[in-house]
C-alpha cells in the first residue's frame, strides 16, 4: 500500500464523515446549513492547537467533537429563533464570522494558520485505519439514526413542524439534537483532517468548503446514507480525475453542479426511481 493510496483512502474517509455530518442536519432534519465548514474548522483548530501543545492526537478527538458540538448547539439555537427561510443565510453568516475571527486572530495563527502539527504516532497505516474505521462507525450510526425513532421524528420535523407537534414531536429539541450531532461529527472530521494534512489555514474552511459539502450530499442524494457517501467520494476524487482539465476545472465543477441540480435534483440516490418510472411508463 503506497502512501498515495493510503492518503486517498484517508481523505475520502474524512470527507464521508464530513458529508454524513451535514446530512444529519440538512438531510434528516431539513435544516439548511450553509456554514458547516465552520464546525469542521472548529474541530480542526481545536485538535491542531492541542496537538501542537503536546496533547496526544487521540485525546484531541473528543475535545474537538465536544467543542464543535457546543458551538453547534448555539447555532442550533439561532435556528429556533429565526424564520426557517432565513436559516440558510444565518448559518452562512456564522461561517463568515468564524472565518473572520480566525483570520485575524494571532492566537489561532491568523492567515498563516497552524503548521508543523506533530504526527499521531500511529504510523501512516495506522492513521488510515483510524480514518477508515471512523468512517465505518459514522456510516453505521447514520443508518441507525435513519431507521430508529429519532430518524422518524426528524422526518416529521422536516415535513411540517406544526403537524409534528400534533403527534407529540417537539421540533425545537429535535433540531437542537440534529445540530449537536451533526456538528460533533464535523468536529471529528476536522480532527482527522489535521492529522492527515499536518497543517491548516483559514481558507480550508471557507464558504467554498461549506458549499462543497452541501454539493456532496445533494449530488449524492440528500438523506440517503449511501448516496451521500457516493457524493462525497465523487467530489473528493473530482480534482484528481479531472486533473487533465487544468485551467477549466472550476468551470467544469460549476457546470456539473448546475446540470446535476437541474436534471437530477434528488441526486444519485434518486436515479433508480427515475429509471424505474421511465421503464414502467408506456
Amino acid at each position: 500500500m503506497n502512501a498515495y493510496v493510503l492518503g486517498l483512502l484517508t481523505l475520502n474517509s474524512i470527507m464521508i464523515i464530513f458529508a454524513l455530518s451535514l446530512n444529519v442536519i440538512t438531510g434528516y432534519c431539513g435544516q439548511v446549513s450553509l456554514g458547516h465548514a465552520a464546525f469542521y474548522g472548529i474541530g480542526a483548530y481545536t485538535s491542531a492547537m492541542m496537538a501542537v501543545a503536546g496533547v496526544p492526537f487521540l485525546a484531541t478527538i473528543p475535545a474537538a467533537m465536544v467543542l464543535s458540538a457546543i458551538f453547534g448547539y448555539f447555532v442550533g439555537l439561532t435556528s429556533l429563533r429565526v424564520r426557517h427561510d432565513f436559516l440558510a443565510i444565518t448559518t452562512m453568516a456564522c461561517g463568515f464570522l468564524f472565518l473572520g475571527v480566525v483570520r485575524k486572530s494571532t492566537f489561532l495563527g491568523g492567515e498563516l494558520g497552524i503548521s508543523s502539527v506533530p504526527p499521531s504516532g500511529l504510523g501512516s497505516l495506522g492513521d488510515t485505519l483510524l480514518a477508515v474505521g471512523s468512517a465505518l462507525v459514522v456510516i453505521i450510526l447514520s443508518l441507525y439514526i435513519q431507521k430508529n425513532w429519532t430518524g422518524l421524528a426528524f422526518r416529521a420535523v422536516e415535513s411540517d413542524e406544526d403537524a409534528a407537534r400534533t403527534v407529540a414531536v417537539n421540533p425545537p429539541s429535535y433540531k437542537l439534537l440534529a445540530f449537536c450531532l451533526g456538528t460533533a461529527l464535523a468536529g471529528l472530521a476536522g480532527a482527522l483532517y489535521v492529522n492527515y494534512a499536518r497543517f491548516i489555514v483559514p481558507d480550508t474552511f471557507s464558504f467554498g468548503t461549506s458549499i462543497a459539502v452541501l454539493a456532496m450530499i445533494t449530488i449524492g442524494g440528500i438523506g440517503s446514507t449511501f448516496g451521500v457517501c457516493a457524493g462525497a467520494i465523487l467530489l473528493t476524487l473530482f480534482p484528481e480525475v479531472f486533473r487533465f482539465l487544468g485551467n477549466y476545472r472550476l468551470l467544469t465543477y460549476g457546470s456539473l453542479l448546475i446540470l446535476v441540480m437541474m436534471f437530477i435534483p434528488k441526486g444519485l440516490a434518486g436515479v433508480p426511481a427515475i429509471l424505474y418510472r421511465r421503464s414502467s411508463s408506456p
Binding site: D85, M92, L251, S255, L256, M261
Partner: protein, 289 residues
C-alpha cells in the same frame, strides 16, 4: 470630527452601493424564495461589459447602456433557463444552481478577460476627489450615491405610489394571494429579475470606473452582504432592504475603522446580521408572514 464625518459619508455611500446591488436580490427572494447568489455575477457582468464597450467605443454612455441592456437580458434568461424549472424543489437545489452559475460566470470571466481583469483605457474620473467641507470625497463614489438615491427613490415611488408598483410590491410579499387578484405573477418575476439586474449592472460599472479595474472575483465584495440584506430587510420588503443596506454600509465603515484587527469586512457584516436577527427574528421588515 472630520474623521467621523468621513466614515459617515463613506458608510452611507457604501450603503447606497449595497442597496443598488441588493434590491434585486430582495425582490427575487421575496417572490421565489430563491437565494440568487449568481446576482453577484450579474454585478460583475455589468462591469465587464460596461468597461469593454467603453474601451471599444470611447463612450461611457454606450458602455453604460450596453451593460444595462445585456445584464437585464442575462438576469431574465437566468430565471427562464435555470430557475423556472426547479421552483418546486427544496431550497438547497436553487442555492446550488445559483452558486454553480456564479462559479461558471466568474471562471468564464477569468478565461475571457484574464485573471487580472480589465481596466478603462482612458479614465478621467480615476482618483478624482472633491473637497466638501474638509472631507475628500471620491467623485465617482459620490456619483454612484447620487444615482443610487435617484433610482432607488424612483423605485420607491413606483412601488409605493403607482398602482402597478403597489401590485408589484404586494405580489413580492404574498405571491399566492396576488395570483387570485389577477396579477400576472410571471410578468412580476421577469420585472424583478430585469430591474434587479439593471441596478446591479449600474452599480457594477460605477465601481469599476471608480477603481479603474474589474476582475473576475469583483462580485465577492458585495455578494455575501447582499444576502445579509435580504434577511435584515425582512422578506421581500423593499423599504426594509434599503434601510438595511444603509445600516450595513455604516456598520462596515465604522466597524472596519475600529475593529479591523479582530474581524474582517465580511465578518463584521455577519456579526451585524446575527445580532439583529437575534433581537428581531424577522429583520427590519414589518414581520410579513
Amino acid at each position: 470630527m472630520i474623521y467621523y464625518a468621513d466614515l459617515l459619508v463613506n458608510g452611507l455611500a457604501l450603503g447606497c452601493l449595497y442597496a443598488m446591488a441588493s434590491v434585486g436580490l430582495t425582490l427575487i427572494y421575496g417572490l421565489l424564495r430563491i437565494l440568487h447568489i449568481a446576482h453577484a455575477g450579474v454585478f460583475t457582468l455589468g462591469a465587464m461589459i460596461g468597461i469593454s464597450l467603453t474601451n471599444l467605443t470611447s463612450s461611457l454612455v454606450i458602455g453604460f447602456t450596453g451593460a444595462i441592456c445585456l445584464s437585464m437580458i442575462a438576469g431574465c434568461l437566468m430565471y427562464r433557463i435555470f430557475y423556472e424549472r426547479i421552483l418546486r424543489e427544496p431550497p438547497h437545489v436553487a442555492v446550488l444552481i445559483s452558486i454553480g452559475l456564479l462559479i461558471v460566470m466568474e471562471d468564464s470571466f477569468r478565461i475571457i478577460f484574464g485573471e487580472e481583469g480589465i481596466t478603462l483605457h482612458n479614465n478621467p474620473f480615476y482618483l478624482k476627489t472633491v473637497d466638501v467641507a474638509g472631507i475628500q470625497l471620491n467623485v465617482v463614489f459620490l456619483a454612484l450615491a447620487a444615482i443610487a438615491v435617484i433610482t432607488l427613490t424612483g423605485l420607491a415611488y413606483f412601488v409605493n405610489g403607482t398602482r402597478v408598483g403597489i401590485a408589484w410590491r404586494a405580489t413580492v410579499s404574498k405571491p399566492l394571494i396576488a395570483t387570485s387578484f389577477g396579477v400576472d405573477v410571471i410578468k412580476v418575476r421577469y420585472l424583478a429579475f430585469g430591474i434587479g439586474s439593471m441596478l446591479a449592472a449600474i452599480a457594477g460599472v460605477m465601481v469599476a470606473v471608480m477603481n479603474n479595474l474589474v476582475e473576475p472575483s469583483f462580485g465577492s465584495v458585495v455578494s455575501y452582504k447582499s444576502l445579509a440584506i435580504i434577511v435584515l430587510g425582512g422578506l421581500g420588503n423593499m423599504n426594509g432592504a434599503l434601510l438595511a443596506s444603509l445600516c450595513l454600509g455604516l456598520a462596515e465603515s465604522f466597524g472596519t475603522a475600529f475593529f479591523d484587527s479582530y474581524l474582517d469586512r465580511n465578518a463584521i457584516a455577519a456579526l451585524v446580521l446575527i445580532v439583529v436577527l437575534m433581537a428581531r427574528p424577522s429583520g427590519f421588515g414589518r414581520g410579513t408572514a
